[in-house]
Symmetry: D2
Subunit: 360 residues, 4 copies
C-alpha cells in the first residue's frame, strides 16, 4: 500500500525552531500562550517564569503540555539568565512589570512581544490617567509595533517590540474599523458596549472575583474612571479613519470564564444601506482566516468563539443607525491567540500555524 | 407582662379582602404573582388557571404557598365560570391570549391587570410590526392605564384596565425619564443596551432556551426585527419629555435566571454636571420605596436586585456624555412585583404591602 | 366597613423583644442571620461585629435590612462592651474565635448560640484531628446543647450554650436518623455522599474559591483528611441509635452558591420494604413545619430548598438497599435558619417565627 | 537552511484513508465525533445524517470542521444509499434506532461502531427493564465487542460490531476494575455515586433540560427505576472479577455542560493499604496514554478533564474503606473520544491519533 502524504502535514515541515522565553507563565494569558506553544512545531520554550509555580513542571500545570517534558517554571531572575538561549521573549505580566523589564530585554538584543498594555499607546501622557503610572520608557513607544494583525499586518514581520492588543480593544476596534476605513460613518460618538468573562480580569485571589460575587451577577465597571482600553480603541480607530474619533465605552462583567461580546452603535452617513455594510465587511475581512463574518448579528455569540482563535462579526443597519456585533475569546484572539498569530508573522511561519484545529 | 404591638403589624389590619383570579398561573410571571399573593393579607385568590398543571394544587407548584390550602389550578374555561366571585383578574398569558380574553372580562364588569403587552401601546399600528398581530380591540387601547407606577401613579387607583409595563421597558424608561423630565438631555439618539436573564423569555420547552444553549453564552437578539419593548420605551419617554425621542435598543441574553441590567448612553445639553444629574435622580426617586439610588453606577448590580421588588439606578457624566445604569428583577419590578404594586394602588392598600421583606 | 384582623397577624403581637448581639456579622452565616433577624418581630439586634465592615451601616450591607436604621457594624471589642444590653449572643465566627470568645460571654451571664463548630462535639479528643486545635474549654462541651432542632427539641428551651449544627451534619444526620430510630438498619457502614454550594466554604478571598476555579468544576474534597462534620454526624447518629454507627462521608464542591444534597446508602435489616420506610419518615417528620417529605427521592432538589428554611427528604428501597436523599440550604436549615429556629425555642417564640414566607 | 522533519509529523503519514458514515450527526455525541473526525488524518467522512440539519453543511454546524468542505447533512435514507462508499459506520442515535438500523449495516458487510446502548449488554433479558424495549437482534449481542479500550484492547482490532461503552459505565467501571482485578476488594456492595453534566442527557428540547430548570440545581435521578448503565457496570466488573459483583449506583445531574465525576466506596480485604492501592493503579493504568493517575483523589476534577479525551483517577484508603474518584468528559472518554480510540484500533492507526492536542 502506498504512503499517502496528507496535505495537513504541510506546515509541520518547518525551516527552524525558534527559541522563546515566557515571562509570566501562570497568569491566564501566559498559560494560554504556553498551551498554544506546546502544540506549535516552530517554537521551543526555553524558559517560563512564575512566582507561584517556581519549580513545578509546566506539564503539571498547563493542559496537554506533555511536550514540555520536565521543563519547570523558574523565577524571573533565573529566566533572565537564560536570555542568550532565546530569540524572542513574550511578556505576559502586569503592565508595570512589563514596563520595567522589557527595555532590558531589548537592550540584550532580543525581540519582545508584550501582552501587557505598557507599550500599546503612542501618547505617553495617557499612561498616568489610564494606567496610573508615569511611562518610564517613552522613547520605546514610537518604536513599538501595535499588533492588531488584520489591520497592521505589514508592520509585524520586522517588529522588534510588538505590543499585542488588549482584548476589548481588539473586539471593539475590529468591529468599527471596516466602516471607518470605507468612510461610511458620520462624525458622531461611537457607543461601544462590551461584556467580558472573568478571565479578562487576570488571575487574582480577591473576593471581588470570588465565585460568590460573580455567579448570578452582571454589572458595568470602569465607567467613572474609564477603562484603559478606551484610549487604545480610539488610537486604532483614528489611525484607520485618519480623523478624530469620539468613543464612549461601557465594559461589563459576565458570569462566565471566557469571551467578550461587543455591541457597537454608530451613525452612518446618509444613503448607506445593508448592502454597503456587508460589502465593507466582506472587503476587509472576507479573506481573513481568523475572522468569521456571520450572516446576522444575532448569530455572533460568545459560545461560538470560546476556546477558538477567531473573531466573529456581523452588522445590520436601520435608517442611519448601524449596529455591529463582534465576539472573541479574550484569552485567544484577545491575548495569546493574537500573540501567536503575531509571533508566526515575526518569524516567517504561516500566520495560523498552531492555531487552527485540524490544521497540522 | 404587657402586650407590645409592633409597628410592623400595621399593614396586616386591612379593611377588606379583595378576590382575584389569575389567568396564566404557570408561566414565570404568573407563578411569581401567585407567590406574592400567597403572602399578601389583602388578596384572596379565587382561581388560578394553568393548562399544564390543571388539577394540581397551587401549594405543590408555587414556593411557600401553603396558604392556598387545597386550591388547585383549573382550566381557563373553569376559571371564567368563577368570575362572579372576583373583583379583579390578572392576565399573565401570552399577548395573543390576553388580547382575546381581556375584553370579555371587562364586559363582565371586572377590573383587569394585564401582564402581557397587548394593551401597553397606544398606537394600534405598532402591533403588527412589533407583536405580529393586528390589534382586535383598539377601542380599549386609549382606556388602558399604563402602570409604570412611579411615573403615572395618579392614574392607577381608578384604572379598570391596567397595562402592566414590560421588564425592559421598565428598566429602560425609568433610567432615562428623570433626565428627560428635568430637560437635561440633548435631542439626540438614546442608546440603550440591556441584558436579561432567561426567565424574561417566558416558559418554553425549546432547544433555544435549553441549558446547553444558554450556559456559557452571551449574545444580542432582536436587532434586525426590533424588540417589542422598544416602542413601549419610546412611548413612555415621549409622554414624559413631551417631544419626540429617538431610541436605539439592544437587548442581550444573559446566562442567569433572573435580572435585567440597562446601560444607557445619552448626550446632555451643555453645562450639565454630576450635581445636576444626582439632583435629578434625587428629586424624582428620592422618596420612592421601591427605587434605590446607588452611590455610583458601578454599584448597580443584578445580584443586588434579584428576588427583590426594587429598581436600582445611578448615573455619571463625562463632558456631555451621560451614562445611566439601572437594574431590576425581570419577574418582580419587571412583572409581578410591579403588578402587585399597581394592584395595591387599585384597591387602596399601601403601595408596598406584600412586597417588602420584614414589613408586615 | 368593619376591620378584619387576619390570622396572619397573630405572631406579630409578642410579649417582649429579646436583645441579641451578633459576633461575626459579615460572614455568610452571620449575614443571613442578620437578614432573618431584621424581619423578626421578637429580636432586636443590639450590636453586630465585623472587621471588614466596621463603621458601615448594616442596612447597606445586608439585603432588605432597613429596619436596622443607622446601626453600624462595630469591632469585636466594641461589641463586647455592649454585652450588658444583650440577653443572648450569636457567634458566627471561625471555630477558633468562637472557642476563645464564647467562655467569656457565658461568664458574663449571657446565653450564647454558636454557629461555629467549637462546641458541637462531646469528645474533646476529636478536636485536634478534625479541627486542628486542642480544645481549651472542655468543661463546656458537656454543658453545650446540640441544636438539631427536630431531634433534640426538648433540650433547647433551657440551653445556655447552644451549639448549632453544621450544614452537612444536619443534612446527613436528618437523612439517616429516622431509620436508625426505628431500628430498620443493619449494622453496616453508612455511605453518605454529599455536595455543597460554595457559600458552605465561608467567605474567603482565596484563589481556590475564585470564579475561575469553581465554575464548570465538580470535585470531592476532604477525603484523606476527613471532613470535620463526619464525627458530628456519627455523634448524632450514635446518640439516636444508642449503638456504634460507622459512617463513610464524601463531601463534594458544587458550582453554585447555595444548597446541599445528601445521597445516603444504607443496608436495612431483612424484610424492610417501602411501606416501612415511608412510615418511618412520616412518623418522625410528618408534623414538622420545616421538613418536607417528598413523594420520591428524585424530587428532592437543591433548587427547591435554596433560600428556604426547610429540609427536604425522601427515600426508596430495593431489596435491602436503602437510599435516602435530603437537601437543604446550607445557610438556612444548615446554619442561620436553624439558629433562628433554636433561638425561637430558647426565648419562647413560635418555632418558625420569622422563617416562613407569608407567615407573619 | 536544511529541512527539519519534526517527530510531531509522524502520524500524519498514513497508509490509507478509511471512509466512515455517521448516522445521528446532530446529537451531542455525533457532533463531537464529527469534530474529532474532521481533525483526523486517517478518516474521511462519507456522509453524516441528521433530521434537524438535513441539507446544512457540516462545517456550519460543527466547530472548526472546515475540512468537510461542502459536505452537507443528509437524511438517514440518503445515508443508507451511500453505504457502499463506506468501510465503517458510526451510530450515534437513540438506542431504538441503533437496534433497528445496525443489523442492516452488518448484513451489508460493513463494520459498525455503536455509541448507543443497544448492543452493550450480553444478557438480552436486561433490555426490557433497563431500556424499555425487547431486544430484536439477540443473536448479535454475543458477537458485539464491548469497547472499554483499556480493559479489552485485544478484542477491538477485529471487531465487526463494536459496542462503545456508556459514559457513566466507563467512569465507574474503570474506577473499580483495577482493584477487582488485583483481588483487593471484599465481596460487599460497591457504592458508586456519580454526577454528570447535562450533555450526558442528549439533545432534547424539553423543559426538564431547560436552563431555568437546571441552573442552580443538583439532584439525584433514576434511583427507583435504576439507570441503564448499572447493569453495564456490573457486567464489566463481573467479567474482570470473574465473580458476582453487587453494585449500588446513584447518578446525579450537575449544572454544567460536560463532565462526569464518580466517587466510589468499596470495602477491601483485610491488610490492604495505600501502597497496595497505588500499586494497583500504577500496574493497570501506568502506561495508558488516556488515563491520568492523580496524586490524590481531591485532585481528580471535572475541570481537568472537560474537553479532553482522558480519564483521571486516584484512590485513598482508611482502614478497609477504599475511596476511588474518577472523572472524564462524558462526550469524549465517555462517548466520541473512546469511539475514536476504538476506531483507531479497528483500522490499525495509533490508538490516540486525532485525540491528543499537539500530537500530530
Amino acid at each position: 500500500m502506498p504512503l499517502v502524504l496528507l496535505g495537513a502535514c504541510t506546515y509541520t515541515r518547518v525551516m527552524q525552531t525558534v527559541s522563546i522565553g515566557v515571562i509570566g507563565g501562570s497568569g491566564y494569558s501566559g498559560m494560554e500562550l504556553l498551551r498554544l506553544l506546546s502544540g506549535h512545531p516552530g517554537f521551543r520554550v526555553a524558559f517560563a517564569t512564575s512566582d507561584r509555580w517556581e519549580g513545578k513542571r509546566l506539564r503539571d500545570k498547563i493542559r496537554d503540555a506533555q511536550r514540555f517534558g520536565d521543563l519547570a517554571f523558574c523565577s524571573v531572575e533565573a529566566g533572565l539568565q537564560q536570555l542568550q538561549q532565546c530569540q524572542v521573549v513574550a511578556m505576559a505580566t502586569p503592565s508595570e512589570t512589563s514596563l520595567s523589564t522589557l527595555p532590558l530585554l531589548l537592550k540584550g538584543g532580543l525581540r519582545v512581544i508584550d501582552l501587557a498594555g505598557s507599550f500599546r499607546l503612542k501618547d505617553a501622557s495617557l499612561y498616568p490617567p489610564f494606567y496610573a503610572f508615569e511611562h518610564s520608557a517613552k522613547a520605546l513607544l514610537e518604536q513599538a509595533v501595535y499588533g492588531l494583525t488584520e489591520w497592521f499586518r505589514s508592520d509585524i514581520p520586522q517588529a522588534t517590540l510588538l505590543a499585542n492588543p488588549g482584548c476589548y480593544a481588539t473586539a471593539a476596534a475590529m468591529a468599527v474599523a471596516p466602516f471607518l476605513k470605507k468612510q461610511l460613518l458620520a462624525e458622531d460618538t461611537l457607543v461601544i458596549n462590551a461584556a467580558s468573562g472573568i478571565s479578562g480580569a487576570g488571575r487574582k485571589a480577591t473576593e471581588e472575583y470570588g465565585y460568590m460575587e460573580i455567579e448570578g451577577d452582571f454589572r458595568a465597571y470602569r465607567l467613572r474612571r474609564p477603562h484603559q482600553h478606551r484610549p487604545e480603541i480610539t488610537q486604532t480607530l483614528e489611525r484607520i479613519a485618519q480623523r478624530p474619533v469620539d468613543v464612549a465605552f461601557f465594559p461589563h462583567l459576565l458570569p462566565m470564564k471566557r469571551g467578550i461580546l461587543c455591541t457597537v452603535f454608530a451613525k452612518t452617513k446618509a444613503g448607506i444601506n445593508q448592502a454597503h455594510i456587508e460589502e465593507a465587511l466582506g472587503e476587509v475581512y472576507g479573506g481573513e482566516p481568523l475572522v468569521e463574518i456571520c450572516p446576522t448579528p444575532e448569530e455572533v455569540r460568545i459560545a461560538s468563539v470560546a476556546h477558538r482563535p477567531h473573531l466573529q462579526i456581523a452588522a445590520c443597519i436601520e435608517g442611519n443607525k448601524l449596529t455591529v456585533v463582534s465576539a472573541l475569546d479574550n484569552l485567544l484572539k484577545g491575548a495569546a491567540g493574537q500573540a501567536l498569530q503575531n509571533l508566526n508573522l515575526m518569524f516567517g511561519y504561516p500566520e495560523t500555524l498552531g492555531l487552527l484545529y485540524g490544521e497540522k
